[in-house]
C-alpha cells in the first residue's frame, strides 16, 4: 500500500467545480503549473492582525478605477456581523526576503504572483441587528474584504445630525447619497474648525451657516449662531463667490449687521451700533497689555462711576475722582487716552442706539446672526467680539425663558484669544459657557496654540488639512475621539475635504464639504410653499 501523507487540503474553485487535491511528500510528482488556488483569491481577505488592526493584501498592480486609497472604508461580512474598517496605510510587500526586487532572476525581476500590496486598516466597529457598535472581536481569518457601498454605510445615515455640511467621502470618491450632518444638540459644547489657508474654511462656514439658516427659517433650530466676519466674505461673498444673503429661500433665518456703509444700504442689513453704556471696563481691559497698576485702576472704575463711566472718565472731575482713590495721574492718563482712541476709532459706538439687544434676541430665537466688519483692525475686532460675547454670556446666565435656544459664537483666528496664557479674554465663556448653553466655535490654522485644556473640551472637530505635525499631535492628544490613526489622512486631505469628529457620530467621518454655491443652488430650489405659517391666510387683495 502506497504510503501517502496528506500535508493538507486546499479548496480551489475552478470553473465552478470544487476540486480536492492532495499533495504527496513521498516524491510523487505534482504538476506545479496546475494551481489549486487562483491568484485572485489570495487578495482581499483578512489575514491579520488584531482587534485594533486589520491587514489584507491586494494585487500590486491595480487599474485606476480600483485603486485603493487611504481613508477608504471596507467591510467584512462574517456571519451576522458586518465589520467596517478604514484604510490607514498601503505598503509594498511580498513573500520574498532580502533585496529580491533589485535582483535579476531569469527573464524577470520576480515571480509576479508573490508580490502584492499590504493594506493596513483600522477597524471602525461592526454592525449587527442592533446597529453599530465598537467591535470586541475579529472577523474570521480569510474573510472576504469588500469596498463599503451605501448599503453597508446606511447605519451612518441614522447617526447623522440635522446640520448638513457635505457628503461622505470614501477615499477620494464621494457617496452622494450619504450626507454628513452635524448635530445641533452638540453645539452647546465647543467646536473647532482647523484648516490651513485655502483649504475651504470660509466655504465650510458658509455651508454650516446656510444649514443653520435653513433650520432657523423652519423653526427647527436648536441654537443661534453668531458669526463675526472680519474678512467681509460671508455677507455677499467675495471674489465671485456667493454670500449668505444670496440664500433667499431661507433668509428669515439670517440677521445681518455691518459696519460697512455700502453693505448697510441693503434692506436686510442693519448698521451695527453699540451703545456707550454697554461698554464695560473689562471690555477695554482685554485690548491692551496693562501694568498691574493700570489693571487695578481699570477694575476700580466700575466701583467709582456708574454706566456713564466712559464719558465721566474723560472729564477733569472724573480724573480727580480716580486720583482721590489713590491712582496715579499718569496711570489714569494712559487709560483715558486709550479709551478715547477706542471710542473715536470705532464709529459704531453710539450714544443712544444699540444693536446688541436685537442680536441677543435673534440668537435666542435660534437665528444666524452675521456681524460683518470688513477692514476693521485686529484690536477693534477683538473689542467688539469681547463686548458682544460678554453681553451674550450675561444674558444666558439669567433664567432662560421657555424656548430659548443655545448659542454658538464663532471666533476667527481663535489662537489670538484662546491660546495658552492669553485665555483671559474669553476665559469665562470658554470655562463656563457650556453650563449656560453658550458654546464657542474656534476657527484656527494653528491648533497647537490653543489652550490644551480648552481643546479637550471641544466636542466637534472639523479638520481640513493640517500640514504642521505639532498641530496634528496637539489635536490628537486632546480630541475626544481617537484621531491619532488618521494622521496620514489628515496630511493628505485636499481642498474641501474634511475629517469630522463629533460625539454623536460613532467614528471620525471623512467628508467632502459641499461647495457653497452648489449647496445654495440646491437650497434655493427647495419648495417651501406648504411651510409658511405666517401668511396672509390666502388673501391677496384685488387692487385697481
Amino acid at each position: 500500500m502506497r504510503e501517502r501523507s496528506l500535508e493538507h487540503y486546499r479548496l480551489a474553485r475552478k470553473n465552478d467545480v470544487v476540486l480536492l487535491q492532495e499533495r504527496n511528500l513521498a516524491g510523487i510528482e505534482i504538476d506545479t503549473s496546475k494551481r489549486i488556488i487562483e491568484k485572485g483569491e489570495t487578495t482581499y481577505r483578512i489575514i491579520s492582525k488584531s482587534v485594533r488592526e486589520y491587514q489584507f493584501i491586494i494585487p500590486y498592480k491595480q487599474p485606476d478605477e480600483e485603486r485603493i486609497e487611504v481613508g477608504q472604508i471596507f467591510y467584512i461580512r462574517d456571519g451576522r456581523l458586518i465589520f467596517l474598517a478604514r484604510v490607514l496605510d498601503i505598503q509594498y510587500d511580498s513573500n520574498y526576503d532580502g533585496k529580491w526586487d533589485t535582483t535579476l532572476r531569469g527573464t524577470q525581476f520576480f515571480d509576479q504572483d508573490q508580490i502584492f500590496n499590504r493594506v493596513i486598516a483600522e477597524p471602525l466597529g461592526c454592525v449587527d441587528t442592533g446597529g453599530f457598535r465598537k467591535s470586541r472581536t475579529i472577523p474570521t481569518k480569510f474573510s472576504a474584504v469588500k469596498k463599503a457601498e451605501k448599503e453597508e454605510l446606511r447605519f451612518l445615515l441614522e447617526a447623522m445630525g440635522d446640520i448638513e455640511i457635505g457628503v461622505l467621502r470614501n477615499g477620494s470618491k464621494w457617496v452622494e447619497e450619504m450626507p454628513v450632518a452635524l448635530h445641533s444638540d452638540a453645539m452647546d459644547h465647543h467646536m473647532g474648525i482647523f484648516a490651513t489657508t485655502g483649504m475651504g474654511k470660509s466655504n465650510f462656514m458658509k455651508v454650516f451657516a446656510a444649514s443653520c439658516m435653513k433650520l432657523a427659517a423652519k423653526g427647527k433650530s436648536k441654537f443661534g449662531l453668531l458669526v463675526v466676519d472680519p474678512h467681509g466674505e460671508y455677507l455677499l461673498g467675495k471674489n465671485g463667490s456667493k454670500g449668505l444673503m444670496h440664500l433667499k429661500n431661507y433668509e428669515s433665518g439670517l440677521v445681518c449687521y455691518t459696519t460697512d456703509k455700502k453693505n448697510a444700504t441693503h434692506p436686510g442689513v442693519e448698521e451695527l451700533t453699540v451703545a456707550l453704556d454697554e461698554i464695560e471696563p473689562m471690555d477695554i481691559s482685554v485690548l491692551y497689555d496693562w501694568s498691574s497698576a493700570q489693571r487695578d485702576a481699570l477694575e476700580s472704575i466700575s466701583r467709582v462711576f456708574d454706566s456713564n463711566w466712559l464719558d465721566d472718565l474723560q472729564t477733569k472731575e472724573g480724573l480727580a475722582a480716580m486720583v482721590s482713590e489713590g491712582f496715579n495721574e499718569k496711570t489714569m492718563g494712559v487709560i483715558s487716552r486709550r479709551i478715547k482712541t477706542i471710542v473715536e476709532k470705532n464709529r459704531y459706538i453710539d450714544k443712544t442706539k444699540s444693536s446688541i439687544p436685537n442680536i441677543l434676541a435673534h440668537l435666542q430665537e435660534g437665528k444666524v446672526v452675521l456681524v460683518d466688519i470688513p477692514r476693521m483692525s485686529d484690536r477693534s475686532e477683538l473689542f467688539l467680539l469681547s463686548v458682544i460675547s460678554r453681553c451674550i454670556l450675561e444674558e444666558y446666565k439669567q433664567d432662560a425663558a421657555r424656548g430659548r435656544k443655545n448659542c454658538l459664537i464663532t471666533i476667527e483666528e481663535a489662537q489670538r484669544v484662546l491660546g495658552e496664557g492669553n485665555l483671559t479674554r474669553f476665559e469665562s465663556i470658554a470655562r463656563e459657557g457650556r453650563k449656560f448653553g453658550v458654546g464657542l466655535c474656534a476657527i484656527t490654522q494653528q491648533p497647537k496654540l490653543i489652550d490644551k485644556q480648552l481643546l479637550s473640551q471641544f466636542n466637534t472637530l472639523v479638520v481640513m488639512g493640517l500640514g504642521d505635525r505639532n498641530d496634528r499631535s496637539q489635536l490628537e492628544e486632546s480630541a475626544k475621539q481617537d484621531l491619532s490613526s488618521l494622521d496620514i489622512e489628515i496630511q493628505t486631505l485636499e481642498k474641501g475635504e474634511a475629517i469630522i469628529s463629533t460625539l454623536k457620530i460613532p467614528f471620525p467621518v471623512p467628508a467632502k464639504i459641499h461647495r457653497y454655491e452648489d449647496y445654495l443652488g440646491r437650497l434655493e430650489r427647495e419648495d417651501r410653499s406648504d411651510e409658511k405659517l405666517i401668511t396672509s391666510g390666502g388673501f391677496r387683495p384685488v387692487l385697481d
Partner: protein, 382 residues
C-alpha cells in the same frame, strides 16, 4: 421743510361703556375731539406736510361718523394749504375679500396722498420724496417693498409696524408685524413710524409720534402727542395735544387694613379734582376679602363719579402666589402642543404606539388652524 408727524388716531374706538346724555360712547367722542384738537394745532403750527403714519381708523369698516370726522379734518388742512401723506395701518387695512380699504373714499382729494395698497408708494412734495410702506399682508413683504425705494437725496420714510427694538414692550400682540431695525437707514432725513402708541425716538432720525389718546392701561406711562420735525435743522419737537388723563396708580399694599382704613386710603387717592375726566385704575395688593366686602361701595362710586372711568384692580391676601408662566406664542401653537405631548408621554400618559401619530396629526391640525385664524389675528384687540 417742516413736517408734522402723527399716527394711531383710531377714530371709531370706543370703550368702558360710559355714554353721554345722547347715548354716545364717552371715550369715542373724546377721541373725535382729540383728533379735531390736533388738526387745529397742526394748522397753527403751519407745517409744509402732515404725515399720518397709519391706523387713522380703528376698524377696517369704519362707521360714517369716523369717516366724516376724518374728512372734515382733511378739508381743514386742505384749506390751510397743508399737504397730507397717509399710510394705512393694521387696523384700517382689509384682510378679506369682503371689505375694501376705507381710504378709497379719500383718494383724489387735493393735496392728500395715500398709500394703502399693501405696497410701496412714493410722493414728491415740496422738494422731498415721501417713501411710504403701508401695512403689508406678509411680514416678509416689508423688506421686499423697501427694496423698491430709490433715494432722491431728500428722503422721508413712512412705515407702520413695531420695530424689533421695541418688541419687548408690552404692546406686542398676536400676529403683529415686526419691522426690522435694518430698515431704519441713517440716510433718510426722517423716518415717521406708526403703530406704537408711546412717543419714542428709536434712532437718530426715526421716531414714533405715538397716539394722541390712551387706549389701555398699558399706555399709562407713555408720552402722547405729535411731532414737529424741521428737516433742514434736523430738530424734532415733541408737542402735547392733551394733558395726561390716564392714571394707573402704583400698587398700594393693603396688608392688615380694615375696611375703614381701606376706605380712607381710596379717598386719599381719589381726590375728585385730581381724577376729574381721567381714566383711573387703582391697584390694591394684599387686601382682606372681608375688609373689601365691607367697603361702602355706594360712597366709593360717588367719590369716583367725576372720573371718566374708574377701576380697582385687586389682589386678595389669600390668593396663592401666581406662577407667571411664559405666555404661549399663538403663532406657534403646534410647537406648544408638541411640547405638551412629549411631556405627557414622558409621564406615560400617552401610549408609545400612538404618540407619534397623535403628535403629527395634532400639530399639523393646529398649524392649519393658526394659519386660517391669522387673518383675524392681525387685528389688534379692541
Amino acid at each position: 421743510m417742516k413736517i408734522v408727524h402723527m399716527s394711531d388716531s383710531h377714530l371709531g374706538f370706543s370703550n368702558f361703556n360710559r355714554v353721554d346724555k345722547y347715548g354716545r360712547n364717552l371715550v369715542e367722542e373724546m377721541i373725535y375731539q382729540g383728533f379735531e384738537q390736533a388738526v387745529e394745532r397742526i394748522i397753527h403750527l403751519k407745517p409744509d406736510v402732515l404725515i399720518h403714519a397709519g391706523d387713522v381708523f380703528h376698524h377696517v369698516r369704519p362707521r360714517i361718523r369716523p369717516l366724516y370726522v376724518f374728512k372734515r379734518g382733511l378739508e381743514k388742512l386742505q384749506d390751510a394749504g397743508i399737504s397730507v401723506v397717509i399710510i394705512s395701518g393694521n387696523h384700517d387695512s382689509p384682510k378679506s375679500y369682503s371689505a375694501i380699504s376705507p381710504f378709497y373714499i379719500f383718494e383724489g382729494m387735493k393735496d392728500v396722498s395715500i398709500a394703502h395698497k399693501y405696497q410701496y408708494d412714493s410722493f414728491h412734495l415740496e422738494g422731498h420724496t415721501f417713501h411710504c410702506i403701508p401695512f403689508c399682508l406678509d411680514p416678509d413683504d416689508y423688506i421686499k417693498e423697501f427694496s423698491n425705494i430709490g433715494r432722491s437725496g431728500n428722503d422721508v420714510l413712512v412705515m407702520h409696524g413695531l420695530v424689533e427694538s421695541l418688541k419687548n414692550k408690552k404692546m406686542r400682540t398676536v400676529g403683529e408685524h415686526e419691522l426690522r431695525d435694518s430698515l431704519l437707514k441713517s440716510d433718510f432725513d426722517y423716518i415717521a413710524l406708526g403703530h406704537y402708541h408711546g412717543q419714542t425716538q428709536i434712532s437718530k432720525n426715526a421716531w414714533y409720534s405715538g397716539s394722541i389718546e390712551y387706549f389701555n392701561f398699558g399706555e399709562a406711562s407713555d408720552r402722547k402727542g405729535i411731532l414737529l420735525a424741521d428737516l433742514e435743522k434736523g430738530v424734532v419737537e415733541q408737542i402735547e395735544i392733551k394733558p395726561k388723563y390716564m392714571i394707573d396708580h402704583p400698587a398700594i399694599d393693603c396688608s392688615g387694613m380694615s375696611s375703614a382704613e381701606l376706605s380712607e386710603t381710596l379717598q386719599n387717592v381719589c381726590d375728585p379734582d385730581r381724577i376729574k375726566d381721567h381714566i383711573l385704575r387703582i391697584n390694591l395688593e394684599n387686601v382682606s376679602r372681608s375688609a373689601y366686602r365691607n367697603l361702602n361701595h355706594a360712597k366709593l362710586s360717588k367719590l369716583t363719579s367725576a372720573a371718566l372711568y374708574f377701576k380697582i384692580r385687586i389682589e386678595y391676601d389669600d390668593e396663592k402666589e401666581r406662577i407667571d408662566d411664559v405666555p404661549v406664542n399663538a403663532l406657534r401653537l403646534h410647537e406648544e402642543y408638541t411640547r405638551f405631548l412629549e411631556d405627557q408621554a414622558s409621564r406615560n400618559m400617552v401610549s408609545k404606539s400612538i404618540k407619534n401619530d397623535v403628535k403629527a396629526y395634532g400639530s399639523n391640525l393646529l398649524k392649519r388652524a393658526v394659519e386660517a385664524h391669522n387673518i383675524e389675528a392681525m387685528d389688534a384687540s379692541e
